[in-house]
């Protein structure tokens, strides 16, 4: 674990709202090594989503450099960025962003459509596999409006996993889930992190979720206020087992 996969140097992001300037990020710097599981915490409005969008190559910083796998993102064309988003990054949005009136399976397949190397049959197989991983295989024909908020979130996670990215960026991926389901998701994340070596950056504002990660970056007001290694990472699987079995109360 010595290869830097992400390097951000003095990143600033400003939004111009008419004459007013909103400074969402005011100079953020940190590195993420390949295979790390980082959680980003901070109160609402602290700039977490803004930062994650930049990390996901969806947005560009107003100032500062962002290097992904040693490549300066600021110098890439729109098409190169699109390819990067497709192949290297699995993004889970805070607002899920599923296609309405489209089945869960097709939603999960979507990133594979933009990957010409994947055949029709492989696409189906991979999508079903990803839905199985989030325990939604039996709901794959349902459209988002026929799924609960938590189920929609799991479809969004499956979509992020389907193209086998090297890095998963999740924005409050457990925000709408009950404890059991969010632990299940965290167990999945830990598995992806440990067994497949995927780098995970996970935005949350719940401290008990952060306990499952190996490192926590704390944002406040667009600045990093704390960056701590987590010495004893909690196992999500064990936490899950420790939960009371019966839900009938």
């Amino acid at each position: 674990m010595d290869k830097k996969i992400l390097e951000i140097q003095q990143i600033k992001r400003e939004f111009r709202m008419g004459t007013e300037i909103v400074r969402a990020l005011k100079g953020v710097s940190f590195d993420v090594f390949a295979g790390e599981f980082v959680t980003i915490m901070g109160s609402s409005g602290s700039g977490k989503t803004t930062l994650l969008n930049i990390l996901g190559c969806l947005d560009k910083p107003t100032e500062g450099n962002y290097l992904l796998d040693g490549v300066n993102i600021g110098q890439l064309s729109r098409n190169e960025l699109a390819r990067l988003r497709n192949r290297k990054i699995g993004f889970v949005f805070q607002a899920y962003n599923l296609l309405p009136r489209t089945s869960a399976l097709e939603n999960v397949e979507l990133p594979l459509f933009y990957n010409m190397e994947i055949s029709h049959e492989d696409r189906r197989k991979k999508a079903i596999h990803a839905l199985e991983a989030v325990k939604l295989a039996e709901r794959m024909d349902h459209t988002p409006s026929q799924l609960s908020g938590g189920q929609q979130q799991r479809v969004a996670i499956a979509r992020a996993l389907v193209n086998e990215p090297v890095m998963i960026l999740a924005d409050e991926a457990t925000g709408n889930l009950d404890t059991r389901t969010s632990y299940e998701i965290m167990a999945l994340m830990q598995e992806l992190n440990r067994e497949q070596g995927k780098t995970i950056v996970f935005v949350t504002h719940e401290p008990d979720i952060a306990a499952f990660s190996s490192r926590t970056v704390m944002l406040r007001d667009g600045k990093v206020v704390k960056d701590t290694k987590n010495e004893n990472v909690r196992s999500a699987k064990e936490a899950l087992a420790a939960l009371p079995v019966s839900d009938d109360y």
Partner: protein, 406 residues
Amino acid sequence: MNVLNLLRIAFKALLRNKLRAFLTMLGIIIGVAAVIAMVAIGQGSKESIQSQLSSMGSNMITILPSSNVAGGARLGGTSVNTLTIDDVKAIRKQAENVSAVSPAANSSGQAINGALNWPTTIYGVSPSYLDIRKWALKDGIPFSDEDVRASAKVCLLGQTVVTNLFPNGDNPIGKIIRFNNIPFQVIGVLEAKGQSSFGQDQDDAIIAPYTTVQKRILASIYFRTIYASAVSESASDAATDEITSILRKQHRLRSSDEDDFQVRTMAELISALSSTSNLLTILLTAIAGISLVIGGIGIMNIMYVSVTERTREIGLRMSIGARGIDILMQFLIEAIMISITGGIIGVILGISSAKLITIFLSWPTLVSESSIVLSFLVCAATGVFFGYYPAQKASRLDPIEALRYE
């Protein structure tokens, strides 16, 4: 993203808004159907005029009486009596550019064969008439100059008359029929000639020596028409001039008098008719073309609406790896699909309306493949042209801004 998937996405998007897609197509449908039908009508009439040209003989000249305005009211063309057999003889003798002349005196009446009768027209002509009209005998023999001199009661029958008076396939030759109670011996049957460019059945005719018709039926020395043949098509104008000067002399017209006859050449008539039909085709096609453009603007409008409605979808697709070109193609294919589907429906509608026009109005129509191919290409081009700007707008969206769009 490959084309098949793009087609599938476009198809689904259209199915989701069936009515809207249909209404958008309507402009294209009407435009294409109009183009196909209009061109079919134009081509059909041109084609029938052209076949007339070859069947009638392009060097035919028609001389009609016309009113002399020297005194008082003008009378209708055919009610004026100015053309006589002397005129015919003068033209035959003097006009060098004319190879044949025949008068024509016609009368409508009832033809009777035993118990069967049929209303038709008898044309009193001279033997050269058949040459001038390029009309062949199917059976029997033509009448001769001798028959003309003797006012012989002999006749030739057109096909329509044959089918109506001899329905059982009897051979009419040698039989006696009656026309307005005058007995005629059938000596020949004419080839079928079909409809004239004015929709008149040319086979509904009996042809007899003009002397017989003039004396026994009309009791008149005047002719309704004189037909002549110029030695060649290019000699038509020279022949016209000759005929004019001969007839003016015959009728003793002073130089200040207007002609009391009209000379019309076939070539002139044909070119007048085809230029009218050409103009009509151009005009109708232009109107149809305008409706295609309006249809295209409709597509553009609806594509802008579609792009705006699906801004979030575009943002999402981009954020998971769609390139600008993928988004561009997605919307472009949707636009082309609307225009081509509209085009297909339009082609079907156009062909069927051309058929219906032929069936119910009996106008000749001719659906040309080139008009189908052309309107198809125009449709695809309309889709590309009018779909491009909305699609390009979509492809240039910023993923995050698109995702935030409400």
